[in-house]
């Protein structure tokens, strides 16, 4: 087929002045957008590449941070006197209940307007004071005073939750320092009767068994 003249000669093209004029601005805007997008993609790609290379060569460069310390070998079980020393040091110094009692109560608005009462003196924590004395006596080498103080806690303050612990320490002193297995067994038994904390029950039973074994 051959057409002598193109079909577009039958059509009017119209004026393209306006589209051409506004088109140049849009071309420039589109180029700017594409340029920015291309740069962003390039930057992201570079970052990704750098991260990948860093990760890949990571084994070649060991970390300069000090290596984590090797786990310590399990220390040998402390000897009985050492265990006793640490136990005495760990005797509770201040009881939580005492702290709670000493903490000032929140002042209510109604109370503010009421006439001021005389300030209540905080209760003295006798057991804490006794335990502190035990610690000092033990460190000073005054074992008999330490045992006397511990006995006092067990007898006069049996309702205090620290009494069982004090009797446990007393039993250990009697068993390991004074070689008095019979009295030690009594102290351990007394401690068990005072409903000791759960974590103290097993050591108390073991100590009691040991004391009974020595007593035989």
């Amino acid at each position: 087929m051959t057409l002598e003249r193109p079909i577009k000669t039958l059509l009017h093209e119209g004026s393209f002045d306006a589209p051409v004029s506004r088109g140049w601005l849009r071309v420039q805007r589109k180029r700017a957008v594409r340029d920015t997008a291309r740069k962003s993609v390039l930057a992201a790609s570079c970052l990704l590449l750098a991260a990948s290379v860093g990760w890949a060569v990571r084994p070649l460069f060991p970390s300069t941070m000090p290596a984590a310390p090797a786990p310590k070998a399990v220390a040998a079980a402390p000897s009985a006197p050492q265990q006793l020393d640490s136990l005495v040091q760990q005797l509770p110094k201040v009881h939580a209940r005492t702290v709670a009692l000493q903490r000032p109560a929140p002042v209510a608005a109604a109370v503010v307007s009421a006439p001021k009462a005389e300030p209540v003196k905080p209760p003295v924590d006798v057991v804490a004071a006794l335990l502190e004395s035990v610690r000092q006596a033990y460190e000073a080498g005054d074992i008999s005073r330490a045992t006397a103080l511990l006995q006092e806690i067990g007898e006069k303050h049996a309702d205090d939750p620290r009494a069982a612990q004090a009797l446990y320490v007393l039993g250990l002193i009697q068993l390991d320092r004074q070689r008095d297995a019979a009295h030690a067994a009594e102290s351990f038994t007394h401690a068990l009767e005072l409903a000791p904390p759960a974590e103290l029950v097993a050591p108390l039973w073991q100590a009691l068994e040991r004391a009974r074994a020595y007593a035989r």
């Binding site: 087929m1 057409l3 193109p6 079909i7 059509l11 093209e13 119209g14 071309v27 594409r34």
Partner: protein
């Protein structure tokens, strides 16, 4: 009283500009300048070729907005890839190939939209663009031709349109389509076999 400065957007200035564009610097020189990031040269290239390309894209796509968008995208792509153009004197045919490539893509998208029921707007059908002196028969032939072209594969429709609506040479059509001459001829022949039964093209040639 200061002398009023001439308005650069006045009709005189625009006329002088257009005259300079028509008779001015050849494409090859402007391309060389544009390669050196000369925005003025880019602007001249755009203003020289945008009008005819807009008209052609409008006729191929039957949508003025899509035609504008397509031509703008083509210029953006052309300026970005200007260093790939081997012969700067061939800027026009190279730009045409970019426009044709984008037109084919848009036509394929239009087909998909039509297929899923979202028919795209066609505000510049061939019949609507016809000169006012065309008689009813010629208008009907243009309408029938439009309908036939819409049902053709986009590559065939574009090849035929470039050859017989735009009047491009066969070699230029092949270049714009980025196909061999033989393939282009085959596309055009296939389109003709589809168009010929329903459209009297000779009737369009008889129009004064």
């Amino acid at each position: 009283m200061p002398t009023p400065r001439p308005n650069p957007t006045s009709s005189d200035a625009r006329g002088a500009d257009v005259a300079q564009l028509r008779s001015g610097v050849p494409d090859a020189v402007l391309v060389e300048r544009a390669r050196e990031n000369d925005r003025g040269a880019e602007s001249l290239l755009y203003r020289r070729h945008a009008g005819p390309l807009l008209a052609m894209a409008g006729r191929l796509l039957r949508n003025s907005h899509q035609a504008e968008d397509t031509v703008q995208d083509a210029f953006v792509r052309a300026f970005e890839r200007l260093h790939q153009l081997k012969d700067p004197a061939m800027f026009r045919s190279w730009l045409l190939s970019i426009v044709v490539s984008l037109v084919k893509k848009r036509l394929r998208r239009q087909r998909v939209l039509t297929w899923v029921g979202l028919e795209s707007l066609t505000d510049v059908t061939l019949e609507q663009q016809a000169h006012s002196h065309l008689d009813v028969e010629a208008r009907n032939e243009l309408k029938a031709l439009d309908a036939k072209l819409k049902t053709l594969p986009s590559a065939h429709a574009v090849a035929w349109s470039l050859r017989y609506i735009e009047g491009e040479k066969l070699e230029d059509v092949a270049s714009a389509m980025k196909k061999s001459l033989a393939t282009t001829k085959r596309y055009i022949a296939a389109a003709e076999r589809h168009i010929r039964p329903g459209v009297k093209l000779e009737r369009l040639q008889e129009v004064p």
